[in-house]
Every structure is written in structure tokens, then in C-alpha cells.
């Protein structure tokens, strides 16, 4: 854990209720699948936000406006200073990928898969990314993923873009070496049941501190109690209890 002051560089809307923010600061030790915890004016608890990308000292978040915290963030101008705890949580272990990993993101579960996808492409893997959304207006990062050179597949519930249905419909006929996924729990469970290979699943829980002190976000696993903020948010398929 590191306490870093970041400066907002850009903050723009990229889809319905979804914003992309870039910030400059000390990004050392930040890995794919981990998160940061942001102090916001007038709000007591910090706001955990997953890391979407980082390049040198520039960090990127993609976040959905869901409450007062993310609403406050959406109004921030360039130059705003933010008090951020970084290097939080246990992210994706990319060494487990095998030759042709599949990354699956649902809605705002897509951003944490971006940095992982980039690193896996850089490592010479044959990477497939499946993004799931409800409808066309919600889709973001299509071009960014394509630019990485991954095999990108999109599923929308209403069929407005890509495969009609869920991410598991877009997963059919693929034989992944490994799965990296993040999204709503029903989606994670569907992916878990639809795949025979191992994988890493990123979970969400309401957190107090975000760094393991309060035990607010614990979950039960096959290997004992784990804190989503500390031993998670990424759990191995083999340890998950639904």
C-alpha cells in the first residue's frame, strides 16, 4: 500500500454514465486487477476504483457514475489533486495464462481486464477478449481493445451489437487455456459453469478500508476466509464458493 497524490489530467464521458479519467502520479507497484482507494471531499469512506491502464506515471480509470462518490469524480477538472492509496488487493497472475487465455468483462467489469490484456499481448499470448453489455449505448473501449490486437468479441443482451445474449454465448466454441474475468456475480458464476479450464475471477464487495484492516468485505472460500480487498479481489476458480 502506498499513499500517493495524483493530479487529474483528463476526465471524459466515453459511454452512457461511464467516464474515463487519466491521472499523473507515482504508479509504482500497481498491477493488473488491483485497485486504488480514493479520498473524496465530504465523504467519509474512500472509494475503491479498479485500475484500467497505466503507462509510466499515468494511470487510467474507467468508472461508472453510480452514486455520490463517482458523481463527484465525474465533475473533476484537469489539475484536481486526489489523495489515493495504491497497490491494493491481489490482482491477476498473468503467469498462469497459458497460450490462449480468454479475458471476459461484463459492464464496468471490463476496465480491469484491459491492462491484463495489454500485458498478455506484450508477452506474446494469443488473447481473446469478450465484453458483455446490455445494449449498444453502454459499450466502451472497443477501439482500445482492437488496437491491442486481441480477438475482440462483444455480446449484448438486446443483440444491438455482436452476439445476442451473454458473454457465455460469445464464449461458445472457444477453448481457452485460462480465464481472467471481472463483472457482476451472476456473470462470474455463468462463466465458472460454462468453462472447464481454470481461471481467475475478480469479485466486488462493499468495503470499509480497502486494505485489510476492518474485515468488512470478507468472503468464504474453500481455503478459508478471505478479504476481497486484500487476498482478493481476484480469486482462483478452485477456491470459489458460490
Amino acid at each position: 500500500m502506498k499513499n500517493v497524490i495524483f493530479e487529474v489530467l483528463t476526465n471524459k464521458k466515453i459511454a452512457k454514465d461511464v467516464m474515463e479519467m487519466t491521472l499523473r502520479g507515482d504508479t509504482s507497484g500497481i498491477n493488473p486487477g488491483t485497485f486504488v482507494n480514493i479520498k473524496l471531499d465530504g465523504l467519509y469512506l474512500r472509494r475503491p476504483i479498479s485500475v484500467c491502464n497505466l503507462e509510466d506515471d499515468v494511470l487510467t480509470f474507467v468508472y461508472k457514475i453510480v452514486g455520490v462518490g463517482t458523481e463527484q469524480m465525474s465533475l473533476m477538472d484537469a489539475g484536481t489533486k486526489l489523495d489515493v492509496l495504491t497497490q491494493l488487493g491481489n490482482g491477476y497472475d498473468l503467469d498462469n495464462a497459458g497460450d490462449n487465455p480468454v479475458l471476459i468483462g461484463g459492464g464496468v467489469g471490463v476496465p480491469p481486464t484491459y491492462l491484463a490484456a495489454r500485458k498478455l499481448v506484450e508477452a506474446g499470448k494469443s488473447v481473446t477478449v469478450i465484453m458483455g453489455f446490455n445494449t449498444k449505448d453502454e459499450i466502451f473501449y472497443e477501439e482500445e481493445f482492437k488496437a491491442l490486437g486481441v480477438d475482440l468479441r462483444i455480446a449484448t443482451v438486446d443483440g444491438s451489437v455482436g452476439t445476442k445474449g451473454f458473454v457465455t454465448d460469445a464464449l461458445k466454441r472457444l477453448e481457452p487455456s485460462y480465464i481472467y474475468t471481472c463483472g457482476p456475480e451472476p456473470m462470474l458464476k455463468a462463466v465458472y459453469n460454462a468453462t472447464s479450464c481454470s481461471g481467475e475471477y475478480s469479485f466486488e464487495e462493499r468495503m470499509g478500508c480497502g486494505f485489510g484492516a476492518c474485515m468488512g468485505c470478507s468472503c468464504k472460500t474453500k481455503y478459508g476466509n478471505k478479504r476481497i480487498c486484500k487476498e482478493g479481489p481476484v480469486l482462483k476458480k478452485e477456491e470459489i464458493i458460490w
Binding site: 500500500m1 499513499n3 479520498k39 465523504l43 467519509y44 469512506l45 474512500r46 492509496l85 464487495e205 462493499r206 468495503m207 470499509g208 478500508c209 486494505f211 485489510g212 484492516a213 476492518c214 474485515m215 468488512g216 468485505c217 470478507s218 468472503c219 468464504k220 476466509n225
Partner: protein
């Protein structure tokens, strides 16, 4: 040069600042944030006889100037605390720590306290009769003077280390409970634990916390804590440890003026992992500002 030392139940603390139980784990995880040996002491995560997962999630709800938690005493159980957690703490912390002991019956309190009493890492036993998040135990012992008396009496009979009893604010007469603990042989009183609270989600019209209610802490409860510390400190002849909403060095001074010999910092650790360090480093400045040379001189200074 100001003097921040205080004497708590026979132990000399370098300063009165102690992270409160449940907000600092078993301490060692904070050692990569700062040198935790600067702390007065550490109150460790509440420990019970058996391992506990605690309550279902979600068990955190944000509030104005605070939060509600319904963790429910998640801990690995006293045996594992002694065999696994205390050795990890000992590697990075060389002062006596405070063991926070929970239970669901007098026998459980006795067993947990007896085991932790024998640990060299432990300097004080903090008997938690005030957890609002467990049923048939915890707070039910802390809301009735007779039950509080019995727990403390039973623990005192089998332990040698100073016993600090942590009280709940969710009572009609805090003084009666504190006096019952003193009469039973308590060496000190720690208050306040969290206030029972609740939040409702407007979208689904349901409680935010899975357990519906939980313990409210944070700066919002500071005035309640100061009031109760003042009431109890003026009614008992044993030291009082003040806790509840402390976030600044000024808050520490205020709590001590109300009658606290030492001060615990809880929720603030969850938003600023270095909160206790920041408070300790700021204490000399605030003491000088208010003309305080020896911190222990101001205990109970507000009449």
C-alpha cells in the same frame, strides 16, 4: 520539550494513542505503512474462543462523518491468534499489546482471557462486553450491570494482567454499568464501543447492511464519547480509556480533559492508515499551543 507519557493501569505508555480493536487487525499489516512501535499500544482484533466468519455481507455502510459496520467479530479463534497472529506481531512490535476478548458466555470469556493472560506479547486484557453485532453475547453482557459484574468478576478470578472493560453506549445508565465493573474488580474502563445504527437503500428500500443494523463509529460519535467518558471518569476511581470518533490530536486532548488516561483511535484508521502516526506526530504541536507540558497533567482537567 513536552512529555506525552501516561501511566495506564501500571503500564507506562510513550503516548496515550492506541488504535482501537477492529480497525487495526493484529497490527502487523500496518508495519509497512509506518513504524508501529511509536504507538502507545495496540488493541488487537476482537478474539473469541472459536474461529468466526462473522455476519453476512454487505456489512459496511457509509454515513455522514462515519460508517456502520456489522462485521461480527470475525477472527481465527483464540488458539490461532496465539499460535499465528501474535508471533507475526511480535516480529514488528516490541511493546505490550492489548488483547480484546469476546465471548458468548461467561465460560468463553474466561477461557479466552485465561489463554491470552499467559501470552508475553499481551500487557492488558480488554474484555469486550459491548459488541453490537453478535447475538446472545457481546453487548448483552454490557447492557446489564449484574451481567457485566459477573463477567468481570469471573475473568478477574483467573487472570493476572490488568483488565480493561470495554463498554457499550447503547444503555440508559452508563455510570451504573461502569460502577458494577469497578466493583467486580476491573482495573480500567474503556468506552465507547459503537452506537447501534442503521441505513436504508432508497433504491430497493431495504437495509444496506445484511444484518439490518450495525455499529456506528467515526467523527460523528465523538461528542457522545466525550460525554460518556466525562460521566464515567467522574463516577469511578479506576482509569478510563476514551474511544469514539477520535481523529485529531485536538480530539485526544479533549478526550483526556474529559477524564481519559489513554485514547483509542478507531474508524479514522480505516480512511487514513497512518492516522495514529499523524496524531502522535502532531501531539507536541497541539500541546504547546495549549500550554501543556505533561500530557498526564490534563487528565480529567475539565470539571
Amino acid at each position: 520539550m513536552v512529555n506525552t507519557k501516561v501511566n495506564l493501569m501500571g503500564l507506562t505508555l510513550d503516548n496515550p494513542v492506541i488504535p482501537a480493536s477492529g480497525t487495526f487487525g493484529f497490527g502487523y499489516e500496518f508495519a509497512d505503512v509506518y513504524d508501529i512501535n511509536i504507538l502507545g499500544s495496540i488493541s488487537l482484533k476482537g478474539t473469541t474462543k472459536e474461529p468466526r466468519f462473522g455476519n453476512p455481507t454487505p456489512r459496511i455502510a457509509e454515513c455522514e462523518a462515519g460508517l456502520i459496520n456489522s462485521v461480527g467479530l470475525q477472527n481465527p479463534g483464540v488458539d490461532k491468534v496465539i499460535s499465528e497472529e501474535l508471533p507475526k506481531l511480535r516480529k514488528v512490535y516490541n511493546k505490550p499489546a492489548i488483547a480484546n476478548c469476546g465471548g458468548f458466555s461467561i465460560e468463553e470469556y474466561v477461557e479466552v482471557c485465561q489463554k491470552l493472560d499467559k501470552c508475553p506479547e499481551i500487557g492488558i486484557l480488554e474484555v469486550n462486553i459491548s459488541c453490537p453485532n453478535v447475538h446472545n453475547g457481546g453487548m448483552s453482557f454490557g447492557t446489564d450491570p449484574k451481567a457485566a459484574y459477573e463477567v468481570v468478576k469471573a475473568v478477574k478470578a483467573v487472570t493476572t494482567k490488568p483488565v480493561l472493560v470495554k463498554l457499550s453506549p447503547n444503555v440508559t445508565d452508563i455510570v451504573a454499568i461502569a460502577k458494577a465493573c469497578e466493583e467486580a474488580g476491573a482495573d480500567g474502563i474503556c468506552l465507547i464501543n459503537t452506537l447501534l445504527g442503521m441505513r436504508i437503500n432508497l433504491k430497493n428500500r431495504q437495509p444496506i447492511i445484511a444484518n439490518k443494523m450495525g455499529g456506528f463509529s467515526g467523527p460523528a460519535i465523538f461528542p457522545v464519547a466525550v460525554r460518556m467518558v466525562y460521566q464515567v471518569a467522574n463516577a469511578v476511581n479506576i482509569p478510563v480509556v476514551g474511544v469514539g470518533g477520535v481523529a485529531t490530536a485536538e480530539n485526544v486532548i479533549e478526550m483526556m480533559l474529559a477524564g481519559a488516561t489513554a485514547v483509542q483511535v478507531g474508524a479514522e484508521n480505516l480512511v487514513n492508515p497512518a492516522a495514529c502516526r499523524d496524531i502522535i506526530l502532531d501531539l507536541p504541536r497541539v500541546m504547546e499551543k495549549y500550554g501543556i507540558e505533561n500530557l498526564s497533567d490534563i487528565i480529567g482537567g475539565c470539571k
